[in-house]
Each structure stands twice: as C-alpha cells, then as structure tokens.
Symmetry: C2
Amino acid sequence: MGSEDTKGRDPISLETEAETADPPKAQTERNSRPDKRVSLHTVERLSSYRRILEELDHEGVEYIHSQSLAALVGVTPAQLRRDLASFGTFGNISRGYNVYQMSRTISRIMGTDNVQAVALFGVGDLGRALLSYRGFEERGFQIAVAFDLDQEKIGHVFAGRRCYALADLETVVADYAVRVGILASRPEGIQALVDRAAAAGVRSFLNFVPKRVAPPPGCFVEHMDISAKLEKLSFLSRREGE
Amino acid sequence: MGSEDTKGRDPISLETEAETADPPKAQTERNSRPDKRVSLHTVERLSSYRRILEELDHEGVEYIHSQSLAALVGVTPAQLRRDLASFGTFGNISRGYNVYQMSRTISRIMGTDNVQAVALFGVGDLGRALLSYRGFEERGFQIAVAFDLDQEKIGHVFAGRRCYALADLETVVADYAVRVGILASRPEGIQALVDRAAAAGVRSFLNFVPKRVAPPPGCFVEHMDISAKLEKLSFLSRREGE
DNA sequence: TATTGTGAAGGAATTCACAGCC
DNA sequence: GGCTGTGAATTCCTTCACAATA
C-alpha cells in the first residue's frame, strides 16, 4: 500500500464530461488507432490486464514492464505486447507502461469509461447478492434498477435500488438509458422477457439463469455458467500430469 | 414438456455404483478412446453441449442431428462433430446423436458422472446465494460444507449445509473428500486460504473474489469475473455492424 | 544496456468438402 | 435423399526474433 503520487484521482470515471475524441494527456493521444480487427480473445485478456492494473494502481505502482505485468496476469510478454499493439502505442521504452494511463485506455476501448446503467431482472437470492456486490462501479457499471414479478418486492428498495414491476419495463429502461441487462430470474418465460427488453432498448444481457436464451437480432447474450466452470476444473484436475 | 419414454431415469448420476469401465448400453462402449489431446476450447464447448442436451432430454427429445444441436448451441455443425470426434464415435447416421447417451458420455469425460463434494469459502450474500442455487446437483456437484470467519455463522446451518470454522479446514476437507473449492470470501488473506486448502487436498478453485489468486503447484484457479463479462458485452455492443 | 512494437514463422483451431453409410 | 466422421485447406492466434528506440 505504498501511496506515492496518485494525483488525486479516482480509479475510473474521472472525466465524465465530453466523450468526444479529446486528446487529454500526453500518452493517451497516441492510441486512438481505429482498430483493424480485434479478436475476442484479445478483448477478454484486456479485461484481466485492467483488473491487475487497477490493483497495481491502488498499490501505487506507476510504471510496469510487459515482462512483469505478463507474469502477474499469466500470459507471455509477447502476447501482452501484441494485444496492446492492436490499439496503438502504449508503452514507453525503458520505463514501460504507465499503469494509470493504460487502465484508462482499456476502459475507453471497452466503452466503460463512462458508467453504464444496468438493469437487474429478478431479485431472488442471487439478484440481491449482485445488488450488494461491490466492484461493478469501479469497472464502469452500475445496477441502477431492478425488476421482479413478486408483488411483495415491487416498490421495495434493495441496497439502494428500487424494484419495479415488469409493466414499467419500457419506461424505466428508457428513463435510465439501460443498455445492459443482468438476468437472474426464474427460467420460465425468460426468452419473452429478453425479447421485450431488447425491444425496449437493452442491447446485451448477462445471463445467470441456467437456461438457453437466444439473442434477439443485433443483441448479445453472454452466459454465466457456474457449472460449466466447475466442469472445466473437474476436467483439468483429472489430467494429473498437467 | 413432451413426456415420451424417459425410461425412468434421472438426468444425471443414475448409476453411482461402480465407476469401473463397464459398457452399460449399446452406444456407449464405442467412445472410450483414450483421447489424444483435447483442447480446452473443446472442453468448454462440451459443457454447453451438455447443458442443451439436458434441456432437450427434459423435453423428451431422444435423438438430434448435429445441424440442429449446433444451431441451438451457437456453433457450426462441423465444429460440433469435430469436438465429439475427439472422444470417439457418438452418432448414429440418419438418426443423429442419442441425447441421453451423449449427455452421460460428456459427464464421464468431464469427470462429473459421480457427484463431487465442493467446499464453499465465505458465507456472505454471494455465498448464501450459491448455497441456495439449484442446478449444481444435476451437473455433478454438491456444495457439501461451508467455511467462514464470522463466529455468528460458525455452527449455523445454511440451506442444509453446516458452516465450519477455518480451524477445522483440514479435517472437514478430508472427511468430505473435497477436491473443489468455491471462493466467495473477503479478498483479505485469500491467497493464504487457498494455499492452506490446497495443502489439505483441494485441487481446484472457482474464484468469485475480485482479487488475483495464484494457483498452488498442481492446482487450478478459475476466475469468475462478472465485470469482465460485462466489459465484453459492452465492447461487443458498440461494434454496431456485428 | 534493456525495452517496446512488429514482420515473419510457427502452431492451433475452425471450416471445407467429401468418402462412407444409412 | 441426408447424415456422420475426417483428411485437407484455411483461417486465426501465438510465439519468435530483431529493428528501432531510449
């Protein structure tokens, strides 16, 4: 927890002003390459780079070399450099990469430099756990509203967020400009729910419900399959020799 | 919910007897190829195949072609056939794949044909949500025990599972033959916890804690990064033209 | 010296396309 | 006719190795 100069800034969403392509600082203006064709593998790794970078930033680290960062993340230095190079020039030879700048740049690439409003569908055990989960905000997301079928829950406030009836879906989604939804409801009728939310303007969904959901046209559904991860671990564990 | 003949069987863990390489039915004995070298990509897709297959099985579907199954999962038919072929011969030409047999075979490949005991570390909001989560059992996992630091929680029973003190880690892990752990605790001291659990015999960890954990030698740590998934969705959504 | 960024090489994963089968 | 399983081709991803730079 060495607290060097952190220049009085929050880890994320410092400048929530313009969103125009303003060249704010020195290094940042170099990496605005339009991006040729970025693979999803790269995007997924960028997330893990950013998570580590944020830890480092909190610890007061200002610069880091590809060698060290790659070791922390668990990739090869070449891979790290290649990933970053997809978006332009990040590094400073001999000083390495500026931790804070790079974290902010990745945010911009991901589109999480401004906080996005997220809607939660289903306020059961898991939904409430997600509502009280700290860590979304500092990554650029905020569960702004919740929906549920249960009359007991509607109108109630959970961890600071109001629970609405599904009847209000269209107006609430519009009011809060929700583009991302988290699915944590019962499986029944979830496809209809997704279709309706998509029509209301929600573009992508993170699905915790153990049920297949087809993405509406132009939308994306990402499945959070806990059992699948456990199965992967199970498979890996029985491969003793590696 | 068409209820054709389901031959009076549970979706999983029907025959928990032998675990010896018994050839139970007709088709199953063909796919015991030792596996040359299976990629992790294939393993991850196998999980999603199995999830869909189980849905289909519940709906009473007996056979399915690679074309239809691939469409449901969201991969190409060639990819599906190639994945399955890594393990031997699954399909019956012109009838397609036997839904139930294939689901069982994937279980065997994953090592989830017998239920595995899982330990939960941390009985906070998320931990309790996981304890009450239905859906582990039918995929071959059961949270058998929980651990927490909080004296209020120790000795308490949550959703049928007893919460133990960390002092009892070694004995409890041995008693229940725990090989898999789920991390849902506070970030502080999590690395030490993992190292100690690994020494006690836990081989792999599913980590919900937003903190980097280095896998002990011979062990695996899989990170469940919710924010990373949201970032991926955010990135995809702003690529309008696809 | 040591580091980044990047052509080029190598390897891995996916798709094609068809033989063999029903 | 249509299907699976699979060699071959292709596309994609990673690593190597070095020029350029500080």
